[in-house]
């Protein structure tokens, strides 16, 4: 009997010990615990990714990554899912306990990917360089000591034979755009910074041609195309405004004194280090439009060179880390759509590379027409939000304010106050408490702002620009650009705008905006002038499309659906919460009040009669 008991005990103990040692040895596989990736969610729903990540990363047809969408490749997985150790160094994603390894161990599937592919973001970056088939520092023609900036494009063109012709067909080059839908020529009436026409040498600061000479420019020469301003990767290349955008190859002392030295650029070094465009190269012009960082656009400034995801959910270096060209994809140097030919309402939807064009400059080209999904926060309202996309641009809710990155944008200028000089009869500059110019002798007073609430308006994508020589009514503000759109217009949506206000000089005799002369060695504007001038209020509106905020910063329904909300000025739609029929409301509450008063009086009377009955039974 005792022997039998011992045997039974052994039967129980032995498997338990075996199991325990197995677990201790790591042989028993617990449910995988893996570190969370960056951001709120993956580029695809988790349940899709769990099942299909193999196919998405490496589809059966052998194309490098599924749909060509951003971050749908192995480097994209690694970029978000690689963790850092205590010292900040990346841990490979296939290391023990890391994102890939933990699930693969659980499901007993070996990971082959990383025997060839990068398992940390640093390795991905190295791999990325490895994908480049040409090392420009090995080209003899780029090792020459370039005597002039125009010699660099000449060298580029020896290999990139079609690049000059391609670029010359673009808005980036032409300095003028013919709107294909209206036939109107755009250009030269440059925002509220005054009417240009005689100062084009300074325009060449940004507009990318070289060899502006004596007010003339050869638009037909491929060699005048400045390749470096877009393709420099060193940060050393600069266009110099005082010399029609030419980059100095000798150090130039500023005429004003030592403070404004233009360092010589080593063109050979820059030419040997050309590469893809970057936030910095695009930003060198677009961030600095209107003569300074962030002054013009309000949604484009140097804060986008290294933004947090809270400033720009797409470009955030702590998030998706897009560059400008992730969305603004050029084919043969041509970007579509441009600011001048934008669609206020995208009608195509998701652009599938290989099937559609590669442009992703609209929200819908990646997110489609029904971007809102059910969530615990909006279980019943996501369908309504998707209906909004018909009439409200994504930007309206998802860009809650502009100039959010810490760089103020210019909101108004007053040229009528220009010309005052200091007590020492020298040009004057008055700064605000943060050291930003609010008055200069050259340009007059100006105001800047940060975290500004946009102006909202119906917009059909068609911007009409006022032309030089158009007669104006000095009694009314002159709109330098106007656009159409209404609630019933199927092409129009409600868009957010930065509105700039200015006091501009006009020719009082001809009743046209006056051509100012602000720059250059010549003495006069070279335009007809009646001899009398005045100042007129002017406005210009720029649609906002950048600095899309994370979802938690997006506008809430109640920001607009209330009687004093953001869309108070939008006509033609009934908006619950904002709109009401006032007589009906008045009557309704009167009725409710009458009912309350009636039953109250009835009740009081009953109490009074009851008391009288008790007193006089």
């Amino acid at each position: 009997m005792r022997r039998l008991l011992l045997f039974a005990l052994l039967l129980i103990v032995a498997p338990t010990v075996a199991f325990a040692t197995d677990v201790a040895a790591g042989g028993w596989t617990p449910r995988p615990v893996f570190p969370k990736g960056q951001g709120d969610h993956c580029v695809e729903p988790t349940e899709v990714m769990r099942r299909l990540h193999g196919e998405i990363v490496r589809p059966p047809d052998g194309t490098p990554s599924s749909r060509g969408l951003p971050h749908h490749d192995l480097a994209g997985c690694v970029a978000c899912h690689a963790q850092r150790d205590k010292n900040g160094a990346y841990i490979p994603v296939n290391a023990k306990g890391q994102f890939c390894e933990s699930c693969h161990r659980f499901s007993a599937v070996s990971i082959n990917c990383f025997s060839c592919h990068a398992s940390t973001p640093e390795e991905s970056a190295a791999e990325d360089m490895g994908a480049v088939t040409a090392d420009h520092s090995k080209f003899e023609i780029l090792k020459q000591p370039f005597a002039s900036v125009s010699d660099v494009p000449a060298a580029c063109l020896t290999c990139h034979t079609e690049a000059g012709k391609q670029l010359r067909a673009t808005d980036h080059w032409a300095w003028s755009v013919i709107n294909p839908r209206t036939g109107q020529a755009l250009g030269l009436l440059h925002t509220f910074n005054m009417v240009f026409g005689s100062d084009q040498a300074q325009c060449a600061d940004c507009h990318i041609g070289n060899e502006w000479k004596n007010g003339r420019f050869d638009f037909t020469s491929d060699k005048n195309v400045d390749c470096l301003v877009c393709h420099d990767t060193t940060g050393a290349y600069k266009r110099f405004s005082a010399d029609a955008g030419k980059s100095p190859f000798k150090t130039i002392e500023s005429s004003k004194g030592g403070a404004d030295v233009q360092e010589a650029v080593n063109l050979s070094f820059v030419a040997q280090h050309v590469g893809k465009t970057s936030r910095e190269t695009c930003g060198s012009c677009h961030f600095n439009a209107d003569g300074g960082d962030g002054l013009k656009h309000g949604d484009l400034d140097a804060s986008l060179e290294n933004p947090k995801r809270t400033l720009d959910i797409h470009m955030g270096v702590d998030g998706l880390n897009f560059t400008c060209s992730t969305c603004h994809v050029a084919e043969g140097h041509v970007f579509t759509p441009t600011f001048y030919t934008m669609a206020a309402k995208e009608t195509h939807g998701i652009n599938v590379p290989g099937h559609d064009n590669s442009s992703r400059a609209t929200c819908e080209s990646c997110h489609g027409f029904k971007p809102h999904r059910p969530s615990p926060h909006k279980p019943a309202i996501y369908a309504k939000l998707n209906e909004h996309t018909e009439k409200v641009a994504c930007e309206t809710c998802h860009i809650p304010s502009y100039a959010r990155g810490g760089v103020p944008t210019k909101t108004a200028v007053d040229w009528s106050t220009a010309g005052k000089k200091g007590p020492d009869v020298k040009p004057l500059q008055i700064d605000d408490s943060q050291g930003r110019a609010i008055y200069t002798t050259e340009t007059g007073g100006s105001t800047r702002g940060e975290n500004l609430i946009p102006h909202y308006a119906w917009f059909d994508g068609e911007i009409r620009y006022a032309r030089l020589g158009e007669r104006i009514d000095p009694g009314k503000p002159v709109a330098l650009n106007t656009f159409e759109g209404s609630a019933m217009d199927p092409n129009a949506r409600v868009w957010p705008f930065k509105v700039m206000r200015g006091k501009l000089p006009y020719d009082a005799g001809k009743r046209t905006l006056a051509v100012a002369h602000l720059f250059g060695d010549d003495d006069a504007a070279g335009a007809d002038y009646s001899g009398a001038h005045g100042f007129v209020d002017a406005t210009m509106s720029l649609p906002l499309a950048h600095t899309v905020a994370p979802i938690e910063q997006a506008l809430q329904c109640g920001d607009c659906h209330r009687s004093d909300g953001r869309l108070a000025g939008i006509n033609g739609v009934y908006m619950p919460g904002r709109d009401r029929n006032h007589p009906l409301d008045w009557l309704g509450w009167l009725g409710v009040g009458a009912a309350v008063a009636g039953v109250s009086a009835h009740g009081v009377a009953r109490v009074a009669f009851a008391r009288r009955r008790r007193q006089n039974p």
Binding site: K378, M488, R562, S563, Y574, L587, V599, F609
Partner: protein, 211 residues
């Protein structure tokens, strides 16, 4: 079944479920209308939609229940009872609310299980059921789905009118609620008798035996 029971269990459930939903719909609805700011618009709108679906489910359930139990006169041919045809009865009830109630005159209406409501009550509920309720339901569904039926801007064009009708019906229901609460709470043979009856089913606990 206890013949003294004034309101059956399902009737009571229906009443209180409706009461909760309708009062919540009024609150969230007037919140959406920006008349009150108890919740954010997003919350109010979502609650309003969810409550509307809940009320729909309740109504589908209630119609089913009324059909199988046959207590709904509308569906069993007894609907003529709902039409207050005898003017003298109406005048008697109005006379009661206007005069006798102050003088402690007797309630002229004898309530039975088949006829729970006196004629002005029936007239009120008839107005509610064939006048206001269809209007608020129809306008509400059109309001919720205006983007689906109103392709090409049609819904958008008429949304304002629909919203106006919906709001007007909501005001009517609010007025009804005010008067209903007053009468329900104060006009009964015993203090709070209606309320008791609607909760327990019986007006007087102690008189609950059959006679």
């Amino acid at each position: 079944m206890n013949p003294d029971m004034r309101f059956q269990r399902l009737e009571r459930f229906w009443h209180w479920a409706q009461a909760t939903l309708i009062i919540s719909l009024l609150i969230t609805g007037f919140n959406v209308h920006d008349s009150i700011r108890l919740f954010s618009f997003a919350r109010a709108a979502q609650y309003h939609i969810i409550l509307a679906w809940a009320l729909t489910v309740l109504w589908v359930f209630a119609i089913f229940w009324h059909m199988v139990t046959g207590v709904w006169p509308m569906l069993t041919g007894k609907w003529r009872q709902s039409i207050p045809s005898r003017g003298s009865q109406i005048m008697a009830m109005l006379h009661f609310y206007a005069i006798d109630i102050f003088l402690a005159g007797g309630h002229p209406f004898h309530r039975t299980r088949q006829q729970k409501h006196n004629l002005p009550q029936r007239a009120t509920y008839l107005t509610l059921n064939i006048g206001i309720v269809p209007v608020i339901w129809t306008s509400g569904w059109l309001y919720l789905f205006y983007d689906s039926w109103g392709a090409g801007g049609l819904g958008q064009r008429y949304l304002g009118a629909i919203a106006m009708v919906h709001t007007a019906a909501a005001f009517a229901i609010l007025v009804f609620l005010v008067v209903h609460l007053y009468l329900a709470f104060t006009v009964s043979d015993t203090p709070l008798g209606n309320l008791k009856a609607m909760i327990t089913g019986y007006e007087e606990e102690e008189n609950a035996q059959p006679h």
